[in-house]
Symmetry: C2
Subunit: 320 residues, 2 copies
Amino acid sequence: MTQTVVVGADVGGTNVKYTLLDPAGRVLAQGDIPTDPEDPAGTVARLAEATRSHTGEGDLVGVGLACAGIVTADSGLLGRAPNLPGWEDSDLAGAVRAAYGPVAVAVANDVNAALYGESRYGAGRSCRHLVMIAMGTGVGGGVMVDGDLVTGFADGAGEIGHMTLHLDGPVCPCGNRGCLEAFCGSVGMVRRARELAALSEASEAWRAMAADHGDSLTTRHCFELAAAGDATAMRFFAEVGRRLGQATASLVNILAPERVIIGGGVAQAGDLVLQPCRDMVAHHVLSAEGRSTPVVPAELGPHAASMGAAGLALAVGEAR
Amino acid sequence: MTQTVVVGADVGGTNVKYTLLDPAGRVLAQGDIPTDPEDPAGTVARLAEATRSHTGEGDLVGVGLACAGIVTADSGLLGRAPNLPGWEDSDLAGAVRAAYGPVAVAVANDVNAALYGESRYGAGRSCRHLVMIAMGTGVGGGVMVDGDLVTGFADGAGEIGHMTLHLDGPVCPCGNRGCLEAFCGSVGMVRRARELAALSEASEAWRAMAADHGDSLTTRHCFELAAAGDATAMRFFAEVGRRLGQATASLVNILAPERVIIGGGVAQAGDLVLQPCRDMVAHHVLSAEGRSTPVVPAELGPHAASMGAAGLALAVGEAR
């Protein structure tokens, strides 16, 4: 007896995470292989080898590939890709067809794929209108309207991290001031953590943390102090949550999603960040319904984009 | 010989503007009748009388009705309508059918109708992805993705005027601080005009304007001074344009529209407001393509919403 299988993969700077799903969305296998930063076709060929070892007698019907950068779904091409410059302007869909043969192929930006995954298998199940904010080193975003991912003109949509929250705010990696990413990306958060440590009202523990870790300070250290109840750490995450909430409230005013999904590593701070965010939504959204828009953590974890890529390939197959 | 005709109407607090179009979008007639603030059915019946006087032997195939407030396209119902409380919770589509008989019926929020009108007949022709910002007493908005108006959950989308641009900014009519509307709606602009008049660096002419007009000061007075080259007036509109640009740049980052259309009375200040707005877009949008997104004035003027309502009724008929 053969089983119908679909593969989804999420190409990152160091490795490619993959997920095999059955048509009902059950996870059959997950794993990862190294990314060759200079060789998209070779990497996808090795992905095909790795996933074939799982499919066995299975009937592979589709492959989805997610990648950070500007991805054009229709043509299957990757445009600008700051995290993978050696992959820029490559034919992702062509590499998949060369490695896998005649299967349904879908390609997508990684945050869009994660949003699609959450909408089909995770925190956004049964929703048609969603916004996702992915808080990592940078801050990425995705928008779904009436069940479709919004890619916009020249596939430029979803740069939620560069909404300007304060014209005179802190400098963002993009060069502007006061972007959401400057407040809520881990680069900006670590800088703010050091600023707080220089203030006389900072807790002893916070100052010790900044001094002990120096250049290797991360948001995880800040989270550990917050989990232990440190007052400066609580204030730090409340500030982050308030800025996340300013952006989220504006997104709810603009788009009226059914839910806003917060993903990425920083989101693991959970209600420390999400509760101040929800408070902002409750006060800064105009419509009564919008004020109670659920702001929820992502459910699929680091495999969200590979699961979403698999789901997109399933959808391509279903539409055939 | 009979001519095929479609009617669009835009219900405002004091009057109903209407437009008769042929299927090619040519304007056959335009006019207005008074709004009865307590009687939606009676008002629509009088609208039918007025438009019948124009159609003559014409074959009326559809009627579109636009109204400020929360409008649900599928059910044809008007929900909250702060400008027309006597019309709240009324059956707009039912009133149209009662007055006009069995024709194609479309109902829409007024800014969404104006955006649809601009997309079909005006500043957004041939575009699939658009954002519209309507600068009046308040600031309204509309979003089009892939040719469809975005209404969102509970028809709450498009409240672009309540994006928070500065958490400690001026108070908005909605009660929050620093909304786009607080900076760029005429209520907020007039307040800011008076603040500027109290500053020692304000021009003589600006101070005289504020003193002469007192409580009846409007943005038109400010515009007249700017048109005459007054330095304080130029600064005033540059500030407005910069805040409009902050919001516009964020919208381009989120949605990547092909164009952003600026409508409403305040938009008549033209490049005084639009040029600083474009400068913000050029500097605060992440993607290279997005930085040159055209920011253009609306073309259809006060009849945009009635023309768009007519267009929506045509689209309903075409889809049949």
